[in-house]
Symmetry: C2
Subunit: 398 residues, 2 copies
């Protein structure tokens, strides 16, 4: 019997209004180890969740992390990763992974990019060399990397963009989604680990675009759903639009996505945002915020955000977060974390990142529990209350 | 009965020629957890073994690490560390520590220092502020930091230095050793953890100076021994003298140090050097080499030194060191370590440092075993043979 190469399965096991708790079963996260949703996915741009050994990312409970197609294509190169057996083996991460399509980085890291119907010409931010990403090329690269979930190649519309520009960009993106899917269907048996999971392969997600225009978002969602993907992302957010717009676009889009498929909002967000989006029915999120903020000394805690470099922590013998049980909070004081940050010791980013990831991953654990027992609104209220005590924006994309 | 405030105890349990295997029993490393010698002590200059969480330094088997009086005095300040309960509590390191006196850093990091009979006037390398270290001040700071072993304040003679200059420097250093000891004896009950180890306190080591002149080294050793310290260091080495001179000075000095006290050579060395010095009868060594080299992509292995950034490792699926069982060698490939280094990912220095420390600590474990079973000469021959395949100097001081 020929192999059918099936994608993920998604199961809902609890609901609270439109919020849902569920499980995504993937080749590298299956059965008891399936990805529990709503999930926050730590970002490992260049094949590493910055500064944290994989052993510790595992201990924190992460079951799926991101890799970045644009960065990994440039360095070390997807063909090398393929020869090493795929990204899981190359970086020694046995659990699930997701790669974005590279569309966002081509958009955000390249001032000189040129978009045609065929694809995007861009220059490497590393050495200025010229490259072309087409939908086919992006999927070819993502198959070589071999993440459990890969994303269609899209154009991420800048903000602000007028209606005509957004309309045109959306048409390109939808055509690219078709081409991404066609290429994937023809090549999905080529993933480096095909032999290890007979009959299971990667899952290709569609990406809803349409800028800040609800009608375009709706059209984008409907036309993608007609193409039938195993999961759908909402892209084109966190592009410096005001936060209320982010929420409005998510709210306007979600009703047009099928209930029985995972819904992924890309590039978000602050703790109070990810809890809110989960309550709105979002299943997957990713963001560089906890890891990037950590490297700048910003800690997320149950008492709000702390700038650990602040002198007021110089003799604070308490843990970063008194409610946290991560390895950092169990062992080290704010005074020590403050000293490491003030002295620019490399251990500072290691420990800060571990704590921030623990905070985000524990928060999602609380979200999942709160969906099951019906307390999500009060959890959101609590997270919002501590957020109000804190302030200041941080860039949220890699 | 009044407390006597006893220093360390040192016990020899095996000998091979002049080499010896033993145990140093310290307040934070006693009984079964005593420091086993010959020992290599990882350097934690500013209160952190750079880039590695204390949990992992423990797992690697380190029982004693260094702190740096000069650096910690400037930041976060010894009074703060004292208020936090001492360095062990401040950095959350429950095992033994040793602080140097600050003499070496005043010498190496300050071009404008001014030495008088009283002490050294210097400017902070951080902000240019003026400071004075005297023997009394150095010991006061080191008591506040509260390491298990502290060092007399000394002048580290530069290389090259003529006989008259070295003679004069030695006289100052010996006078400072007396003053260091007098201050320590009068204040040794003030260590922050005095109450936790009733009757036990810090141990003050003397430091032999005398430049590259065997007769001055001998005189220095004899006059220090007359002062009766619980351990003796050989300082003033690794100051850019040729390596054969380092060995000659150690060789000329050791016979003048008591056999029943630990002997510590400061700031050494390469793997083949630390094995050789252990064979010559040295018990303790420290060096920034394994940690600093790691941050530059240089790995020490049973096959010699590797520059992991080298393109030849780009697709090498083997571990950094096939004979090593550290967490890095068990999990990650040379190809991945090469990618991390080439991409300047922060995880690169974390993993490289862990491996290099594992290599050094495992090597000392082999040295101790080889002393007991009589195979130290063949171990040295093996380590030298792989070293010959490698080359290139690395700065060895923090």
């Amino acid at each position: 019997m020929p192999l059918t190469y099936t994608p993920l399965t998604y199961t809902i096991d609890a609901e609270l209004g439109v919020a849902r708790r569920g499980r995504i079963d993937l080749p590298h996260a299956s059965g008891e180890a399936a990805v529990q949703t709503p999930v926050f996915m730590p970002v490992g741009t260049v094949g590493s969740v910055k500064a944290v050994p994989q052993e510790i990312v595992e201990t924190l409970g992460a079951r799926v992390i991101l890799g970045n197609t644009y960065h990994l294509y440039l360095r070390p190169g997807h063909e090398l990763v393929r020869r090493m057996g795929g990204l899981h083996k190359f970086i020694s991460w046995p659990r699930a992974m997701l790669t974005d399509s590279g569309g966002f980085q081509v958009f955000s890291l390249n001032e000189l990019r040129k978009v045609t119907d065929d694809g995007v010409h861009f220059r490497s931010h590393l050495d200025g060399s010229s490259h072309l990403f087409t939908p086919e090329r992006s999927i070819e690269i993502q198959i070589a990397l071999g993440a459990d979930i890969l994303m269609v190649f899209d154009e991420c519309t800048e903000y602000p963009a007028d209606y005509a520009r957004t309309r045109k960009s959306l048409d390109i993106t939808l055509a690219w989604a078709e081409r991404s899917k066609a290429y994937f269907e023809a090549h999905k048996h080529e993933v480096p680990w095909a032999a290890d999971f007979a009959g299971r392969t990667q899952s290709l997600f569609g990406i809803v675009q349409g800028g800040m225009y609800p009608d375009l978002r709706r059209e984008s969602a409907e036309r993608l759903v007609a193409m039938d993907f195993p999961g759908y992302a909402i892209g084109g957010l966190s592009v410096s639009e005001p936060r209320h717009l982010t929420r409005e676009v998510i709210e306007a889009t979600l009703p047009h996505l099928p209930k029985d498929k995972p819904r992924y909002v890309m590039g978000v967000g602050y703790p109070e945002e990810i809890v809110e989006y989960a309550m709105m029915g979002v299943d997957m999120m990713d963001c560089v915020l906890p890891t990037r903020a950590a490297r700048h000394g910003l800690l997320f805690t149950s008492e709000g955000r702390l700038n650990i470099k602040n002198r007021r922590f110089a003799e604070d013998q308490g843990p970063a977060d008194p409610e946290c049980t991560c390895m950092v909070c169990r062992r080290y004081t704010r005074a020590y974390l403050r000293h490491l940050a003030a002295s620019q010791e490399p251990l500072s980013m290691v420990l800060n990142t571990i704590h921030n990831l623990a905070y985000y991953l524990d928060l999602m654990q609380s979200v999942r529990q709160a969906i099951a027992i019906g307390t999500l609104p009060s959890l959101l209220a609590r997270v919002r209350a501590v957020a109000r005590a804190s302030a200041g924006p941080i860039a949220t994309h890699s």
